[in-house]
């Protein structure tokens, strides 16, 4: 509720963690065990939560000239965590995931405490968990919680042969009664999906996490099968490269700032000497939220993973790191920013 008197100040706890174990047994995927650097117990979290790891800037001229931050789903014990477990797919060179893949046991990392945005719905009659690739991570904690509390849950994991993240965790939960199916080709998954979507008990909630194409496949199939959108929950991961966008003009602090194509609003504000608190610079952490006014006829393109749908529709705030205004003819500025 930034900007609302008396309601801000909900700063997420910054945790000092140390890498205590690494597992590189699945090609391209690294699983890490992180403990509190001072040996304290870690805050419990809701299944489906993530932490945001702070990634330092690389050396000058490298692919990572500024510090960044990446969100990773927590896969371990959630109610009484002695450590936090995450799994990271190595993406582009020089990015945050490559930095994680270069960490060693004993290295210190800083994380923003758990944030829940993909929680199991307690009233669901059943929980259908569909994950692809590394997207299985938030579903592992869903399934663990379901087994603990005796909730009806079924998980299907689509992954390339030999690249099944968390296979051991899933096998252990299956041994304790969870239904787990593994599929290694897309055709089999598509066939299974249509069958699954048509045979669930009333009141089942569907949770889906994976690459954008996978989630589109699942949500479109669910819609075709008559699933209400309110029973279909998706969790995005891996921020894909955003298009550079068109240039636009911003009215801020009594002046006009030009935001060129390929430059973010945050960078343009910084270049104009205006400070905006920020952290991940990719629309995940929520730190760079700014209050905005969209002029008559103007349009705001949010592109972040932080605000919910209602907030995006209201158009009163934006994430300066990824959100853009569309250039509108006539108006003096395409967006007003209130710092």
């Amino acid at each position: 509720m930034a900007g609302t008197t008396g309601m801000s100040g909900s700063v997420r706890e910054r945790l000092r963690l140390v890498v205590v174990a690494l597992d590189d047994s699945v090609p391209g995927i690294r699983s890490l065990v992180l403990a509190d650097a001072g040996g304290a117990p870690l805050p419990p979290f809701t299944p489906g939560s993530h932490v945001v790891l702070e990634v330092p800037a690389g050396p000058p001229g490298s692919a990572r000239p500024r510090p960044t931050a990446n969100a990773y789903s927590l896969t371990g014990e959630n109610a009484h965590p002695l450590d936090y477990r995450i799994s990271v797919l190595r993406a582009r060179e020089g990015g945050g995931s490559a930095w994680v893949h270069d960490l060693a046991v004993g290295d210190r990392v800083t994380a923003l405490g758990p944030r829940s945005g993909f929680a199991p719905v307690q009233r669901a009659a059943k929980h259908l968990l569909l994950g692809a690739g590394i997207g299985v991570t938030p579903l592992v904690s869903h399934l663990r919680s379901a087994v603990r509390w005796g909730r009806d849950a079924e998980l299907v994991h689509l992954h390339r042969s030999g690249a099944g993240a968390h296979a051991a965790d899933l096998a252990e939960l299956a041994a304790r009664g969870a239904r787990v199916t593994t599929v290694t080709d897309r055709e089999s998954f598509t066939a299974l999906l249509d069958d699954l979507l048509r045979t669930q008990p009333f009141g089942t909630h569907l949770y889906c996490c994976g690459p954008a194409g996978f989630m589109e496949l699942v949500t479109a199939a669910a819609a075709r099968s008559g699933w209400p959108a309110s029973r279909v929950h998706t969790e995005s991961f891996g921020v894909e490269a955003l298009d550079p966008g068109a240039p636009f003009q911003v009215a801020v602090a009594g002046r006009t700032v030009e935001v060129p194509a390929g430059t973010s609003l945050l960078e343009a504000l910084e270049d104009a000497g205006l400070a905006v608190p920020n952290l991940c610079r990719q629309g995940v952490c929520g730190e760079c939220r700014v209050s905005v006014t969209v002029p008559e006829g103007g349009r705001l393109v949010h592109r972040d993973l932080y605000l919910d749908d209602d907030e995006k529709r209201a158009g009163r705030c934006a994430m300066a790191c990824v959100s853009r205004a569309l250039p509108t003819s006539g108006a003096a500025a395409d967006l007003e920013v209130h710092l």
Binding site: M1, T4, G6, M7, G9, S10, R12, E13, P43, P44, F45, T46, P47, S49, N78, A79, H80, L82, G113, P114, R115, S116, A119, P120, V121, Q122, R123, S145, R148, W149, S230, D308, D310
Partner: protein
Amino acid sequence: MTALSLPTSTAADLLEGFPFPFSHDSYRYSTNVEPARSPVATPVGQWGASVVTVDSEYHRELAERAVLLERDPSRYGVLPHMEVACWDAMLVLLRELASARPDAFHLDVVDAEGPTYRWRNDLLGIEQTFVVGRRETLPAEPLAWACQQVQEDVVLLDQRSGELYGDAGVVTFAADWSFGFDLGMTFLEIHGPVPRVHAEGVIPRAREFILRLQPGQVYRRTNWTLTVGRRLDVATETYPEWGPDRAMVLHVDDDAFGHLVHLRVEVQHLLRLPESGAVMFLIRTHLLPLADIARVPAWRERTAAVLTELPQDMADYKGIAAYRSRAAAWLRDCTSTTTPAPASPSALAPEESR
């Protein structure tokens, strides 16, 4: 007319820990939420250091809750999908008790598997080892058991489809509302009768705030009204017992009036439960008679100003329209002859000039 006995005197800790709610000479509803666990200094003491508060009324209030639950089971309700939230709430309440009063309450993990905890409540002589999620390891249902040990009323809000539902709770000390009637309602429905707050956006803003609350964050606010007598149960269900007091109190003498009319303050805490993702809403009710409010000059003057200025619709909703003017006048006119001497003059003296 109801028989009401005058209280003899207020225990010192109830005055010292009283959460005086007014920061201005007028009061309006606002989304007055602030981060919890920070102590607030008052002219005579402080409040707010912990999420749950244990005071000298502990045994009496818990005994009263037990009687009320026995008489009216609708003060406790749990919809079936709230089982996990109830365990969650129980663990948080036990942890908060142990953190507020480490001398009297102890919670230890004895086995990470399960996990298994040992709980000791020295004030009530309880020792219990339990496994989370295993009902048979507790003497009662988890939320009910926890509420036998905290003075707070508890409401658990389930969050689904971007909405909050009051789907479980133990509320024995409701201030003119009915938990049993509200069970299962949305947040907006529960607050439907409150004047002004919808048009002014207070309740929708509060709802937005709660929807975004994350585990680990704890916020608090205060609310207030007046109550005749040191009476915690002023629920809708027992209106015939306490409703007539509002008219009766107009006819008692000044001395009795100052002892009967209480400023009733609720310290409300809001936190997200980690396992279930439900929101726990705690209501801790504090009652202090006007005679004690008057012992603190700053409280006496401010309360008189607020009661005088309060708009009629708000006074009507709070159920104090009949006697708020007399309460304000009583506070304004009360002199050293009608005010009892402070119990601890040394604590009050430095503040007298404020």
